[in-house]
Amino acid sequence: MHAADDPTEKFAQSIGRELRSPVELSPDLDDRIMKEVRRRARRSRMRPLFLWGGLAAAALMAIAVGMTTRSARLTVPPMERVAFGLEAPAATRVTLVGDFNNWDPDATPLVRSEHGRWETVVPLEPGRYQFTFVVDGSRWVRDPRLPAAVGEDFGEPTSVITIIPVSRL
């Protein structure tokens, strides 16, 4: 077979002609390329701007929340250290339950001191609280030194204590 009739040779010659033909470039090609380069550069410069702007906004928000929390904290009344105690010489365990510890029998155990007296100190905000003692996990005993709760809802003995800030006494 003659080379001119070989299909593979014809394909190779057509590619060669295409590659040898002059390429006509658009006259504004340079301008368009440089515009695109500059546009991308601007975008890349703005990303940090947005980033820093977002961080600054978040920081301002955090400061504002912190200031709100701080001012709220400053308006909280001062806590008073309130001593609770019960004479229970035969008891093996005494705990305190009330409006100040979610009535959790395990939250505030009392410590046995001399002569069978059980004691603890609880920091409380000024206010009025209902409470009682739980002796040996099952017996409810109210503080006999303090007024009993009026209109007891659940039938167990409960005392009431009113905390007045020391500064007002």
Partner: protein
């Protein structure tokens, strides 16, 4: 509150605000917790303090009360808080409302509570109301207790004076 404002408030409220108080979980059965939570949510929408309601439910749970009894106690307390707020005014503090409920339960009328507020307009009434309730608990007749507290309130007495009034009665009571 207008429905649109309430809707907006609820849509902006964090989910925790509308959810069940975590302290109730595990302390109340689910049916009781659901009703108690509804009462608490309603009270919150009315601007009433909710912490006393949570504590009342927990008190009932701690004392092994039945669900029905806990629900009844929480509902009654919510009503009492509303009555106290009506008598004392919308700007009343939580401490004043709690003390107002104690005074109501001791037998004071809403009118008497309002009278105490008017007599002590420039100062809080949390301590006078608490002392009123305490005097009744110490055995003083409610009318006599109220008159003693009211007389003191009219003299612009400070909280310490009310504390001393209670100590006087407590001292008389002791043998």
């Amino acid at each position: 509150m207008k429905p649109v404002a309430l809707l907006l408030l609820l849509s902006l409220a964090p989910p925790a605000l509308l959810a069940q108080d975590p302290r109730l979980v595990g302390r109340l059965d689910s049916a009781t917790a659901r009703v108690v939570t509804a009462v608490i949510d309603s009270s919150r929408e009315l601007g009433l303090p909710t912490e006393p309601l949570v504590q009342k439910a927990l008190e009932g749970a701690s004392k092994s009360a039945t669900g029905d009894r806990i629900i009844a106690a929480v509902r009654i307390l919510a009503l009492n808080l509303g009555t106290a707020r009506t008598a004392l005014g919308r700007e009343s503090s939580e401490q004043e409302l709690v003390a107002g409920v104690a005074a109501l339960r001791a037998g004071a009328t809403p009118g008497a509570i309002r009278g105490l507020r008017q007599a002590r307009a420039s100062r809080g009434v949390a301590v006078p109301l608490a002392v009123l309730a305490d005097l009744v608990a110490l055995g003083v007749q409610v009318d006599a207790a109220y008159q003693s507290v009211l007389d003191l309130a009219r003299t612009e007495a400070d909280d310490a004076a009310f504390a001393r009034l209670k100590q006087q009665y407590a001292g008389q009571r002791q043998p």
